[in-house]
Symmetry: C2
Subunit: 255 residues, 2 copies
């Protein structure tokens, strides 16, 4: 789209025109895939360690699991309470939506589908020399997720476009925070930066604890979880669902 930089298209899109560019593109995508896989593995591991704390948390749900749940209502505007087959199921609405949104963003990165909000007037932020240098190196990675940013003088960055859909924080401040972090601590790779950006965008785009969901919205979210890999684990490694077997509930009731 008009909102994407040509540099990003040249590096990771499908417009590579020379064999050398083509090889570089394959390598980058292969690396992106490995990084994402490693991240998934860590998330699943973290969730499994949580599950051991959680009595009644079952194994990873079967295909079609979330669609089969009968939605009862929201608990504390935070959890979706569901009648499952032989169990009471609670779904953390934020973690669930975050997982769904992160997968959607990952699927769209660098493509024409990335939702970008072009700013009518570029927004400028103060920046250190290290941050400006960093943007010069990682500008293409930022563009993959919807940020268009460039140096504007020696101590200022101009932000021309931001990812659309970020509701819970100012996307400009989000970028500023990550740049400051990366300029001091660095990140293992551009891929890690892109992943981190996607996770932050997902986290700040989706419903949170305290958001009221209509039954239709809740059911739509549950259905989307079924189309998502690792749906039982949120991007921060927290469980998305808590399963309380009816047998355990009956025991507590003395039935």
């Amino acid at each position: 789209p008009a909102t994407q930089t040509s540099a990003a298209q040249g590096q990771l899109g499908f417009e590579a025109s020379t064999p050398r560019e083509w090889v570089a593109q394959i390598r980058a995508e292969s690396k992106a895939s490995r990084v994402a896989e490693a991240r998934e593995a860590r998330e699943v591991e973290a969730a499994e360690s949580h599950s051991q704390l959680a009595d009644g948390s079952g194994p990873v749900p079967a295909a079609g699991f979330f669609s089969s749940l009968r939605y009862l209502g929201q608990l504390d505007l935070t959890y979706l309470v569901c009648d499952g087959d032989g169990e009471l199921v609670l779904v953390d609405q934020h973690s669930a939506h975050e997982r769904v949104e992160l997968e959607r963003l990952r699927g769209q990165r660098g493509s024409a589908d990335v939702a970008v909000q072009r700013l009518l007037f570029p927004q400028t932020i103060d920046a250190t020399a290290a941050e400006i240098e960093l943007v010069g190196r990682v500008g293409d990675a930022l563009a993959l997720v919807g940020y268009e940013v460039e140096a504007f003088g020696a101590a200022t960055l101009a932000i021309k476009a931001v990812p659309a859909g970020v509701r819970h924080t100012d996307p400009t401040q989000l970028l500023r925070r990550l740049l400051a972090e990366w300029a001091t601590e660095g990140a293992p790779s551009d891929e890690e930066r892109v992943e981190r950006l996607l996770a932050e965008i997902a986290c700040h785009s989706v419903v949170r604890a305290g958001d009221r969901l209509s039954p239709g919205e809740a059911e739509a979210l549950l259905k989307k979880l079924d189309g998502t890999e690792h749906a039982s684990v949120g991007p921060h490694g927290r469980p998305v669902l808590l399963r309380l077997p009816l047998a355990e509930i009956a025991r507590r009731f003395g039935r």
Copy 2:
């Protein structure tokens, strides 16, 4: 009402006409009250021992507790799932209704409000000599809860009226079963027999696990629990409610 025997009215109603009858009536009512109190105490004790098993079961709920719950829906057609103030609350629909109904029946016993189903044709059942002798002794107690029964020859009982509202068993068979039990084992007192009858009538009149309740029916039941003493304990000493604090749920979700 026409459906009550005059013997029952003479013994425990307000029609006592001599000082001796009046004293007997006071004594009987005082005893009934003591028996009911002792039964309550045993039920509460039994429920408390259950509560110790049940993590998250809180203390006896405050006044207005059940009305304040936001009803979400039925779980497994057995439990009413509710969003409480700071907790997830499950209510066992059968135990809850049984408790409400038992209190209602206790309040009505021997009064004009007892719902009686008079049989168009008396129903006869075979009976032992011991059972027939027993009916002669406890007929008045049976009348207090709606049974009208008398000997019909040497080996038969004629049942002329039964408590109304018993849905889940044949009230005639229920009486037959209890008479057989009492004729062999006996019961501490007529009061115990009346209590046992009321409990059986309540148990067989109310909703059970597997009954579908409309939201309106569920909410009406919750409201009635608030008008009931010992609402957190079913007549069989099982907990009526299970309380899962949100803090515990949040911990399990890693929040």
